[in-house]
Amino acid sequence: MRYAETGFNLEIDLTRGNIERVATDPKDTELYLGGLGTNAKIIWDRVPPEVEPFSPDNLLIFGAGLLCGTPATGCNRTIVTTISPQTKLMAFSMMGGFFAPELKYAGYDKVIFRGKSPDLVYLWINNDKVEIRDASHLKGKGAVETAEIIKKELKEPKAQVAAIGLAGENRVFFASVEQGRSSASRGGMGAVMGDKGLKAIVVRGTKDINLARPAEFMELCNDVMEYIKFRNDNPIPGVMPILAGLGSPQEMKVHDEKWHTENFMWGNSRTRRKDFWNKEIAAEWMNTMDGMRKRLISCYNCPMTCGATIQPPGLPTYMMKCFTKLTYTMAAMSDLEFGLGIAQSATEYGVDGFSAPQVMAFALELYEAGILTDEDFPGMPSDNNGRFYWLLDRIVRREGIGDILANGTYWAAKEIGNGAEAYAHNNIKKHEQLPLKLSMLNPIYFLMYCTGEKINITQIEGQFPQAPFATKEEREEFVKDWFQVPDEKFKQIFLDWEFRGEKSLPLYPTVQMCCDIVDWQERMHYIDDALGMCAGLSSFPLKPPYHIHNYPKFISSGAGIDMDEAKLTQAAKRYRTLVRANNIRRGLRRKDEKPPEDHWKKRFPELEKELLDTYYKFKGWNDQGIPTKESLHELGLDFVSEDFVKRGILTDSQEASPKETPSKKEKE
């Protein structure tokens, strides 16, 4: 019997309308766990670098994490994986909510789509009965609307629906897949889904998920629940409210607008408004939020209520989480009422809440700079709020200038030319980042920004405090019950870290220490993404209930796979390297691994070079960021080095050859 996982994937060929239920190899689970890990292996095996994002040969994978559907609190992530039209790299985006457990209960660990359907369809998975159904009546419908219509027509109120809106249908590069209170937004998953002619995936499952050693597993679950209660009662002192507690950033619950509006950038990640906040705004925004927020809501099997149902006056209700609360508001230099209102349209259209507002602000900057002119914006209203609604509409319909903007700031700037590229200033690997500009280089964040293949900093950071604490007493207090560290040395690093003097940024933590810190933070995120755990209970917040010490026990008692810390670390390293291998094959090199030029004012080129050199070595990569033969061998990934040699990425004799084969050159 298979434990925690079901042992079956669904293979859907949309071109031929073929549906197959395929047993998976338990060996793969041992090597790559599940979720992102096994997704990365499938991409490696079946999607060579010649395959373009919008080719029928590109795969779109919905993978439930290994422990989804078990009683482990907060383990509900679906890891959506494909080749991104925006970055042209392997992209993965996690969604919470209820989809992954339902898929498991239906008897599948993953749904893998290939090909393209000639007509718009949706997939209906009802336990063993799986069918591709016509979706022509859903064309142009909103993502939330679509879910409601489908549940009604199937008479299945308990089915879970992941759907795209107009943006996905029109292959907007930053289109999302929406699913109830959650979404897979980053990397253009929705665009690939639309390209495949797939409007929605609907699933209902009523089968069992088994545990290998139930008593042991339940004890671990109970400990986690107790610890969550403890952390809820004891927020971490001295850090801002959204970092003090657990869960996805508690943007729906906490009124932290002052901090974000004064520290993050407005417009096209451009303007800092240090004295923005005042009593009137506080009262007004509080009023807006409290008036529109109907209820705080959770994902499957989790008490944290990180999302909310929002009901803007006169508009349909929708669900929201995280920082989308402010991204539209700040991009448009507007107020919260506007932000929550336009987010309703954006959710129905299905666009990423980070990229979409920045793209629109970018367009208006180009307009002000005279690079785009009135001719590009026929009929655009003159007020700022109106302009944003107008632009959003053009983008999701790919009309006029919207057709260019729909490719994101990087590609749009290239196409517009005439100096536009300087305005696409907030990208890493061609993808829009948090609107954040800071002063002093932080070497830890430098490494995370450069080498992250999750592309989004919130999906890389966590565990280690973002800044030193002011006093020694506070630091000592903090490390006292910091048992989540994989090694005691992290406590000392933190204890010694100061705001000023010798042991302060950018020279402290030292280069070696930074490597260790980054590696730990990244490892935890990668483990979460294989197990399907919400980062909000694990890799993202300080002092989380899940950590490197209890995870191996969850895996062995849950899935029945022998696991300890070393083995888990090795597995995470294995599929993390496989993600990189996929991208190296697609042309990713050192030149791509850099933060936005203006992310920090004070930069240190020599230190930065040393950081990257040392980190690459630490990871077992050569100076181009390519995993070496030795390190691949050690991970059991010889098939990767063989492929690299065949493609001339690595050579038989020497370690590295920086040259790229023509097939991997970006088509720009």
Partner: protein
């Protein structure tokens, strides 16, 4: 005079305002009732069901009650505070008219047993946001029911079937007992 007897009554208090729709209660109920205990879980086997319609802000945990051989002659449909609930939404019965509270494979009826043997029902324990809480109280109940209550009932039977038939039935039942 009727004798007084002590009886423990367990009440699960359901505060729908606090429910966030996570369905942890369903999950843990099904895990607890698996054989062996916790060896599997499947919310479709749960003896508590969360009626959950986020867009209408409807969240109602309902417990499985008695098995009903036949469905009701009519249906009920509630509207509360402008929210329209589905037909039979609040009913606890495992009944032929619907799929709720039945084992998904065998169709056998399910019934909440307050997690016999546990300190508190597990749905309550796992609902850490306190949408579900449990209260126990001792109540004194009268053993005997007042005679007039029985008489009213009997009179209606006699009206319907005639005195002789009722007497025969009582005689037969007492023989069996």
């Amino acid at each position: 005079m009727a004798e007084k007897k002590k009886k423990t009554i367990k009440t699960i208090k359901i505060n729908v305002d606090k429910c966030n729709g996570c369905r942890a209660c369903e999950l843990i109920c099904s895990a607890f009732h698996a054989a062996p205990k916790y060896s599997s879980n499947n919310p479709a086997r749960s003896r508590i069901r969360v009626i959950r319609e986020p867009l209408s802000d409807i969240y109602v945990p309902v417990y499985a009650g008695e098995y009903a051989v036949a469905e009701c002659a009519g249906r009920d449909k509630y509207t509360i505070d402008g929210k329209e609930y589905d037909e039979c939404a609040f009913c606890r019965a495992s009944c032929p008219s619907r799929g709720e509270f039945k084992e998904p494979d065998s169709g056998l009826p399910l019934k909440c047993d307050m997690c016999e043997g546990e300190e508190e029902p597990l749905c309550v324990k796992w609902c850490t946001v306190d949408a579900l809480t449990c209260e126990e109280r001792e109540e004194e109940v009268e053993e005997d029911v007042k005679m007039e209550d029985i008489e009213i009932g009997m009179a209606s039977m006699v009206d319907r079937y005639g005195l002789q038939k009722v007497m025969d039935t009582v005689a037969r039942m007492s023989k069996k007992a």
